[in-house]
């Protein structure tokens, strides 16, 4: 493991199977094949690919929500602060919690800081993602989809982790807001040295934020290069298709 690598993944594979109700098994879908990559400290790796390419499976394996059947995930140093931000923030927010409680939750779980301190940090975290303090008292169902997504990001940021895995976390946001959060994440990265694994289908976003882009297709990493070199170094048709289509849709 390189000295400044925060995460190393080697030979990761994962297959899903479905059982029939009388006991038999339907043959599995291979979601990930032999994935290898490293994330350096304070840098961003983007994993791009279409839906069904295995992106979410990868995120879940990284977060420990799924057990891969082969390969290893090594984090540098222990304990390593890792946070995962999901694709569907509404599902990840406890409906009985107020926004303040949602954001403070990681601190509460880790027993950090007194109540007023936590409140302050929560308010600060909210401001950072562009939400006003008035949100603090509201429940998640009273917020719009975009606000909920920002809340989930604020929650991850509050413990200032070393690595954040963002699984399509910025997809549902308005362009303006996406820019704002992207800038915020970049700012946090340069100040605090947080590493990101940005899982997204948006090549444009990946190009703006990441030091390196890994293209995932059908469970394999087919290309991996810095954004500027991706087009020239791409070997796989999926990558070329992605680049061409992104150009058409660019604002």
């Amino acid at each position: 493991m390189g000295s400044d690598a925060v995460l190393t993944v080697r030979g990761l594979s994962k297959t899903y199977s479905q059982r029939r109700w009388w006991g038999g098994t339907v043959p599995g879908i291979r979601a990930l094949h032999d994935i290898n990559f490293t994330v350096a400290r304070g840098r961003t790796l983007a994993v791009v690919g279409p839906s069904g390419s295995g992106k979410t499976t990868l995120a879940r394996c990284l977060a420990g929500l799924e057990q891969p059947e082969a390969g290893e995930i090594q984090f540098a140093g222990a304990p390593v602060e890792i946070q995962l931000i999901f694709q569907q923030p509404a599902a990840s927010l406890n409906p009985r919690f107020s926004a303040a409680e949602v954001v403070e939750e990681p601190l509460v779980i880790q027993r950090r800081g007194s109540k007023p301190e936590r409140r302050d940090r929560a308010a600060l975290a909210l401001e950072r993602v562009g939400l006003s303090r008035t949100i603090l008292g509201r429940r998640s169902h009273q917020l719009s989809g975009g606000e909920r997504q920002r809340l989930a990001i604020a929650r991850a940021l509050i413990v200032e982790p070393k690595l954040i895995v963002l699984d399509e976390s910025l997809s549902g946001l308005d362009i303006r807001l996406q820019e704002h959060i992207a800038r915020l994440l970049a700012d946090l990265q340069s100040r605090l040295g947080i590493s990101y694994i940005l899982i997204t289908h948006d090549l444009g976003l990946a190009s703006r934020l990441a030091a390196e882009i890994a293209v995932l297709d059908g469970g394999h990493i087919v290309d991996c290069a810095p954004p500027a070199d991706l087009e020239s170094r791409s070997t796989h048709p999926a990558t070329r298709e992605l680049i061409a289509a992104s150009k058409v849709l660019a604002v």
Binding site: Y16, Q18, I29, V48, G49, P50, S51, G52, T56, Q87, Q88, S144, G145, G146, E147, E168, S171, G172, L173, D174, I175, R176, H201, D202, L203, E241, L242, A244, A245, S246, V248, L249, A250, V251
Partner: protein
């Protein structure tokens, strides 16, 4: 436009009973055989508009006023039984979140069959899935929603909307989970359906670039009303 618009909305006002106003006099038209875009920030009421057009806002919670003329008939003046008949048959909706929009305990085959049955159609479900752009229709048909990827689920919901054979399809944020090549494919699909079957679309999205590529005209929703914006205007501002 020579022919009548497929949908004409006049001064639509939607508010929460005992709460704030969501739509405050929205007016717009969808010409027959067009792909119209609706652009707006999240939380501005785009989904509420879609539900209002479908007559799916519960009357106990929402106050709906104005005129919604679907092929000349005002939906807001029709009794619920008539609106139920119109729903799906003349105007259909693809919801925003495909995972939530599909029944978790029924197979895809059943869910498509149910829609066909509701409109007395005998089309082949796998052909509908193929039409919606799914590459392995047979595997998808036998699967349950949680076994499919996000993109596959979305195509299933599109297939369901197509099963209705409605002349107007409203798609609420259909592009959000898709990557660029798939977005282009979906736009191609909408164009093909428009050309072959004369289906008109109302595409709701918060992504201006996509709407610029997909729609003939785009309306911007802001402050409860709509204003028309042309394609070049979108590109220029870059929001």
């Amino acid at each position: 436009m020579a022919s009548e618009p497929v949908l004409e909305v006049r001064n639509l006002r939607v508010g929460l009973i005992g709460g704030h106003q969501i739509l405050d006099g929205a007016s717009f038209e969808i010409p027959k055989g067009s792909i119209t875009g609706l652009f707006g920030d999240s939380g501005c009421g785009k989904s509420t508009l879609a539900l209002a057009l479908m007559g799916l806002l519960p009357p106990q919670r929402y106050r709906v006023e104005g005129e919604i003329l679907l092929r000349g008939r005002d939906l807001l003046r029709l009794p619920e039984s008539e609106v139920a008949r119109v729903r799906g048959a003349e105007i259909s909706l693809v919801l925003q979140d495909p995972l939530l929009a599909l029944n978790p305990v029924l197979r895809v085959r059943t869910q498509i069959h149910e829609v066909l049955r509701a409109h007395q159609r005998t089309a082949d479900p796998s052909s509908l899935l193929a039409l919606a752009g799914l590459k392995e229709p047979h595997r998808v048909l036998e699967a349950y929603p949680h076994q499919l990827s996000g993109g596959e689920r979305q195509r299933v919901t599109i297939a369901q909307a197509l099963a209705c054979r409605a002349p107007l399809v409203i798609a609420d944020e259909p592009f959000t989970a898709l990557d660029a090549p798939r977005v282009l494919e979906l736009i191609g699909l909408f164009r093909r359906l428009r050309a072959d079957a004369g289906v008109s679309f109302l595409l709701i999205s918060h992504h201006p670039g996509v709407l610029a590529a997909a729609a003939d005209t785009t309306f911007r929703m802001h402050g409860g009303i709509l204003a028309a914006q042309t394609v070049s205007q979108e590109r220029g501002h870059g929001v």
